[in-house]
């Protein structure tokens, strides 16, 4: 018996129209707050029509710790411990703008050596943060291997930070007027205070070579992957105007073609002494955002190697009063955090703590673009786009 069906013998089927528009209801999809791709506790309420996203509403606040309020009841030296914990992937970089804003108000000049140490550790924090991004982003796209390589590479950098500050994530190393003596520096006396641990320069040179190797490896392993390129190229395009309108900063803004790096506008860290490039993207898509960060790691390693070679000698601390009182005034200082513009607006009324402290964090502004950016995108691209923004929830919620 012949059981094959020939459509030509079934006119009622061949004539049937296949272009029927099926009316489907929008489905509400709740993503998070406990979802690996949200880097913490971000919740997204997405309305989806099939695979297409019609609207997204981020729900924040699961990590809100009220640092702005807490800062009003703390003294200036105590606030450094708070700001460490805003963006915990790059703890050291958070301290700089707060300390610099306070120093501006107190009109303190920081010794050159302390400035260099701050700069080196900030760039190390940037490398560590970008390694986390590189590993995690590849993981989100579907490649498992890079996260292990990234964590290994990053650990070497964290070890360096730890050898100087005593902490991997929360160094709390800056003091108003300078930096504290290093953890691994051995016994210190009042006369002879050592700052960097023995062998730090040699060790840093070795680690930076490894970092550069690691970056090359990532460029081949991740950037050369066809799946990765297809998933990220021309996906989630942020235009220059859109980025500036939302206050999107850091590598994301530069990936959109805006050459805006606050490192070139600082007068409290000696970036002007070093040669480095500011990588800029063209399309503003996920791939560019990934690539800009990758190149930035090379530039950071370059800066660190230059800074080590030109390390000035001298004191670590300016003389500051034992009880730090900041004169009345307002100062806003921002720096280039690995995630973007991080700024502190310190409003002092001459007391032991600030009257008000406004914390401007990069991730908060960076993800405020999500509702507009994700509208009309496909659901699988949501993960690729969110990952490319590289946010940390502590940095979003403060």
């Amino acid at each position: 018996m012949d059981t094959t069906i020939n459509p030509n013998n079934m006119p009622h089927i061949s004539e049937a129209s296949v272009s029927v528009e099926i009316e489907t209801e929008d489905m509400t999809l709740n993503i998070g707050p406990q979802h690996p791709s949200t880097h913490g506790v971000l919740r997204l309420v997405a309305k989806v029509d099939g695979e297409k996203i019609s609207s997204v509403e981020p729900v924040l606040g699961y990590m809100h710790r009220g640092y702005e309020k807490l800062a009003e009841v703390r003294t200036y030296p105590q606030i450094t411990t708070l700001v460490n914990r805003i963006d915990w992937v790059s703890g050291f970089a958070n301290e700089i703008p707060f300390i610099a804003a306070t120093e501006k108000l107190m009109e303190i000049d920081v010794p050159e050596r302390a400035q260099h140490i701050r700069l080196i550790l900030t760039e190390m924090a940037r490398i560590a943060s970008h390694f986390v991004f590189n590993g995690a982003y590849a993981l989100e796209i579907g490649a498992l291997t890079p996260i292990f390589l990234a964590m290994e590479d990053r650990e070497r950098v964290l070890d360096l930070i730890e050898s100087v500050t005593g902490g991997r994530f929360h160094p709390n190393f800056n003091r108003i007027g300078g930096v504290k003596p290093a953890a691994g520096a051995g016994p210190t006396t009042k006369k002879d205070i050592q700052d960097l641990p023995a062998g730090f320069y040699e060790e840093t040179k070795i680690v930076m070579e490894k970092v550069l190797e690691g970056v090359d490896r990532f460029e081949n392993l991740v950037g050369g992957n066809e799946v990765f390129r297809v998933r990220t190229k021309n996906v989630g395009i942020i235009t220059k105007e859109m980025a500036e309108d939302y206050g999107v900063s850091g590598p994301i803004l530069r990936a959109s073609g805006v050459k805006f790096d606050l490192r070139s506008h600082t007068d409290f860290l000696p970036y002007d002494k070093f040669d480095f490039e500011i990588p800029v993207g063209e399309n503003g898509d996920c791939y560019d955002r990934w690539y800009v960060r990758l190149v930035e790691m090379r530039e950071s390693a370059k800066i660190i190697l230059q800074a080590i070679d030109s390390m000035p000698s001298g004191p670590l601390q300016t003389k500051v009063p034992k009880v730090i009182k900041v004169p009345k005034g307002q100062s806003y200082v921002r720096t280039e955090n690995p995630k973007g513009e991080m700024g502190f607006h310190v409003i002092s009324e001459g007391g032991l703590g600030p009257y008000r402290l406004k914390i401007r964090t990069p991730s908060f502004s960076n993800i405020s673009i999500l509702p507009e950016l994700l509208e009309g995108q496909l659901l699988p691209d949501l993960i690729a786009i969110m990952g490319s923004l590289d946010f940390v929830l502590g940095d979003v919620d403060r």
Binding site: V73, V248, F260, R263, K322, L352, Y355
Partner: protein, 188 residues
Amino acid sequence: MRNKLNQSDSQSFIDSLSSKFTNIVNEFDTLKINIEPSQWTETMAELKNEFGLTYFSWLSAIDWENEVAVGDPPKEPVSPHFEIICCLSESIEGNLVLVSTKVEKENPSIDSLVSIYAGSNWHEREAYEMFGIDFANHPNLTKIYLPDGYEGNPMLKSFELISREVKPWPGDVDVEGMPEEGNKEGES
């Protein structure tokens, strides 16, 4: 490549602003324009379109109040008001300006900037929940961090930190016990 901002550039930027705005303060490298709340939106549009301040950095408020539940009160008595501050910047040159205005404490309200800078959306929602400031014409003025049923505006100076009321913060000891100075001011 040396990327250092040229000092004369920022000076010419300040000069161009001074020709337009009368109430400019430049202290501690922070440029601040004080304007009237009625000029809020038109000033922002002007700064964006004519002065090239296309990058929206942040918006927030300060509660100026003499009687405070937390922290220290202002040194000299102030007339209680909210100061709303918006930070704008050039995206390439990096010149930055704070725009400040004062609003009343009774039914504080100001026009929303969302139609000019889309990024102000979340910042205004934060100021709304933290200070209770109303932003007129905001598309979705709801709480952003705090849970739905939350009452009160935590960043007000009259808002107490409950845990601190129950148990004084142990960190106070650090300030009191400073050697030589005998300073007792940390007891706030």
